[in-house]
């Protein structure tokens, strides 16, 4: 059995890529994709610990998160399309209506 450190490392790498993407990218679609990476990083963690502890609850959680991610992507993309139709942009620094 592979040591858990690998999994955690992979998970951490995915999380960091996602987090950096969320913080640095201006395109909201890319931000959404980065959030997907973060969610998948969490999934890898859950599945890995589930395997180590021999408890399937972690895998069930992972399944829920996948479904949740799909829903979130659908809703997020819908919002973005609606926003694009209004403002003709998907760049987050131009979304400044509520800015003081």
């Amino acid at each position: 059995m592979m040591p858990i450190g690998y999994y955690l490392f992979l998970s951490m790498a995915l999380f960091l890529i996602g987090a950096i993407g969320v913080v640095t990218r201006r395109n909201v679609i890319v931000v959404l994709m980065s959030i997907e990476l973060i969610l998948n990083a969490a999934n890898i963690n859950l599945v890995a610990f589930s395997r180590i502890f021999g408890d399937v609850a972690g895998q069930v959680f992972a399944l829920f998160i996948i479904a949740d991610a799909a829903a979130e992507a659908a809703v997020g993309l819908g919002i973005i399309i609606a926003f694009f139709r209004n403002r003709e942009t998907v760049l987050e620094d131009e979304m400044d209506l509520l800015k003081w």
Binding site: V31, E92, D93, M95, D96, K99, W100
Partner: protein, 715 residues
């Protein structure tokens, strides 16, 4: 036996009929066709006449001393106890009707002549606008006049008195687009108000003196609980509380007479009647000749018991009456407007009536009132017919030669003229002769010159002047060369049947109306006087009560010849001046220009009144208007405005700087406090994400050793 019967029990219907149609006309009359207006309005007056005739017939069925019918519908004004003679008394004014011989005469004259004039109006007003309005007012007038003559107390009589005044005002100003008509209406109303003040004061004095305003308690179920003036007066005289010539009685009589001078156009309040001719001619005939202007005469006769005990007031009435008679007659001589001549003639004839009342000949006064109603209504309606024929021309100088062109008008007109002139055996002869005879009979037997001889002389001269101006009118209008403008001459036409038939009926009455009261010469006794006797007997006092002497036959012959003689003299003069020698009048005018001017300008009375009263009132009003403008408007209103503005300015400052300032302060403080908090809300998504990540990193760093333990345990 007390009078009873259907018509007497329904006495209250007599004034009600015209009231109902008046209300109908004034509410929805505009929507009705002319035929319906005529049907309702003339029909209601006819119904009144039928009911009045029925009631009179049923009253006549009983013995003369019982000929009183009194009906109290309800107690109208009951203010409770009031201070009066001998302590508190319970003042009550009824809504009640009284039919006695005096009101019999009045109600028949009012409804009868009124009905004929209503019929006449159908033709006369046929082409006028406001047909329904005219008939509405006329019916309202009939209601008021019938209330006046049928009222059983002074206050209710006053309701009718004011009602006829109102209708007079409305009908004089019927052509309300004409300024002169509006002014005449206002003048009539205001002059009448002056008289009404006296009437009201007299009525108050009656109430406090006698404790009641009801004329009589005869034929009431409980005479003690319902006292009448006549009975109270009799009791007070019997107990020597009031003596012959008592000041309070003189006061009442004079004050009521002030009211009568206003309504009946006597000096000094006669000025409104000539101007009242601005109204349509049927109005002049009904209101300003036959009925309303005689209300003063009726009222004085109604209160005759009081007048008989007030010799000073009687003399005042007689002198005013005689003066008015000759004064108005002299002005009638030079008038050129056909209706103005008749207006002054009316004033003069009313003066005759008051002369009669003033010497105690109440029956003669009422008799002249009745015959005058017939022939003066006929004269006015005839004049209206002439005006109608000449398409509205009223100037006598533009008439003439109409005798054969409009025969159905000219023949009755001649009869009326003869009647007013006093030619036997027409109505006016009997009534006028009766008055002159009664005046002469008060004269001292010793043929010493006294005031009654003097009054009789004035009356006689007035009769001559009357004959002169009436025949002047007749000759100028109907005889001689036609002076009608040619463009009018082609349109001369006889009036329709609805106008000529009333003329014919009135002509018949002007001939026969006097035969009710043939003087002693022709019969046993004067039936008219006997008929009215129960109402006029008054309160007999041993000392000095008015007692008319009996006519001796020789004296009566001589008096009659004198009055007929002077009438014929007047006619002859008018014939000479206006028919035989038409140029003669210019010579007369040239001979006495100042006298002529005085008469043409009506003795400058209007100008004198303007100078003495009207302009003084205007000056007073101007002074008040200055006070209004400077003190009320300037100091009070403007001052209040200025103060309000000052206060509002202070208030505004307070609002702006203190109230608003506090509100703004709260806002500013909140704003200032919010600045550091707002700084976090950059609105930049990536910085939020960064902060979240940083927070996560801090959390993880803080709990890092736990993680370390967890990871170590996993190994």
């Amino acid at each position: 036996m007390t009078p009873s019967g259907y018509f007497l029990e329904h006495l209250w219907l007599i004034p009600l009929f015209p009231l109902v149609t008046a209300a109908l006309m004034l509410l929805i009359g505009r929507l009705l066709p002319r035929s319906a207006v005529s049907f309702f309005c003339v029909g209601s007056v006819l119904l009144s006449f039928v009911y009045a005739a029925g009631a009179v017939y049923q009253l006549l069925a009983v013995a003369p001393e019982n000929r009183v019918y009194q009906q109290i519908l309800f107690e109208w004004i009951t203010p409770g106890a009031m201070p009066g003679p001998g302590g508190l008394f319970n003042f009550v004014a009824d809504w009640g009707y009284l039919l006695d011989p005096l009101s019999c005469v009045m109600v028949l004259v009012v409804t009868g002549v009124g009905f004929l004039i209503h019929v006449y109006s159908i033709g006369y007003m046929g082409h006028e606008g406001g047909y329904y309005r005219f008939f509405g007012y006329m019916n309202l007038f009939m209601f008021s006049m019938l209330t006046l003559v049928l009222a059983n107390n002074l206050l209710f009589l006053f309701v009718g008195w004011e009602g006829v005044g109102l209708c007079s005002y409305l009908l004089i100003g019927f052509y309300f687009l004409k300024k002169s008509a509006c002014d005449a209406g206002k003048k009539a109303f205001i002059v009448n108000r002056i008289g009404d003040t006296g009437f009201l004061l007299g009525m108050f004095l009656v109430a406090t003196t006698f404790g009641t305003v009801r004329f009589t308690s005869q034929m009431l179920s409980d005479p003690v609980a319902y006292p009448g003036i006549l009975e109270t007066l009799r009791a007070m005289v019997d107990q020597r509380q009031l003596l012959y010539g008592a000041p309070v009685l003189t006061g009442i009589a004079l004050l009521l007479f002030v009211g009568a001078t206003g309504k009946s156009a006597q000096i000094p309040l006669y000025v409104w009647l000539p101007d009242a001719m601005e109204g349509p001619t049927p109005v002049s005939a009904l209101i300003h000749a036959a009925t309303m202007v005689t209300a003063g005469v009726y009222m004085v006769v109604r209160m005759s018991a009081i007048y008989q005990l007030a010799p000073v007031a009687m003399d005042v009435v007689a002198i005013i009456g005689a003066t008015t008679a000759i004064f108005a007659a002299s002005m009638a001589m030079v008038q050129n407007d056909i209706k103005k001549v008749l207006a002054y003639s009316t004033i003069s004839q009313l003066g005759y009536m008051f002369l009669a009342l003033g010497v105690g000949a109440f029956a003669a006064g009422i008799f002249h009132l009745m015959t005058h109603a017939f022939f003066k209504a006929l004269l006015f309606l005839g004049a209206g017919s002439v005006i109608h024929a000449l398409s509205g021309e009223q100037d006598l100088r533009k008439m003439g030669g109409l005798w054969n062109t409009i025969p159905a008008t000219s023949r009755p007109f001649l009869i009326a003229t003869l009647a007013i002139t006093g030619i036997p055996p027409l109505a006016g002869f009997f009534s006028k002769d009766e008055i002159l005879g009664d005046v002469f009979n008060r004269h001292n037997e010793a043929f010493i010159v006294d005031r009654y001889l003097f009054l009789w002389g004035i009356g006689l001269i007035t009769a001559g002047i009357t004959a002169f101006y009436m025949f002047r009118l007749l000759f100028l209008a109907f005889f001689g060369r036609s002076r009608v403008p040619t463009e009018l001459e082609e349109h001369i036409h006889e009036s329709p049947k609805s106008m000529t038939v009333p003329l014919a009926i009135l002509a018949f009455l002007s001939i026969c109306g006097g035969w009710f009261a043939l003087p002693v010469l022709w019969g046993e006794k004067n039936t008219f006087k006997t008929f009215l006797e129960p109402v006029l007997s008054g309160v007999k006092i041993e000392t000095g009560a008015v007692e008319l002497g009996q006519h001796t036959l020789l004296k009566e012959y001589l008096l009659m010849m004198a009055s007929v003689g002077i009438a014929v003299l007047g006619i002859w003069l008018a014939y000479r001046v206006y028919l035989q020698y038409p140029k003669l009048r210019y010579k007369i005018i040239a001979a006495w220009p100042r006298l002529y001017n005085l008469l043409v300008h009506k003795y400058y009375v209007d100008e004198i009144y303007d100078a003495l009263f009207v302009n003084r009132v205007k000056d007073l009003s101007t002074a008040f208007s200055v006070v209004d403008a400077k003190l009320i408007d300037g100091v009070c209103v403007d001052g209040a405005g200025w103060l309000a503005r000052m206060f509002s300015r202070i208030s505004m400052w307070w609002d702006k700087w203190v109230v608003d300032g506090l509100v703004n302060l709260v806002g500013k403080v909140t704003n200032a406090l919010s600045v550091p908090v707002r700084m976090f809300q950059t609105g930049v998504f990536s910085s939020y994400a960064l902060l979240i990540l940083l927070g996560l990193a801090i959390l993880l760093g803080y709990y890092g050793h736990h993680m370390h333990t967890i990871v170590r345990n996993l190994r």
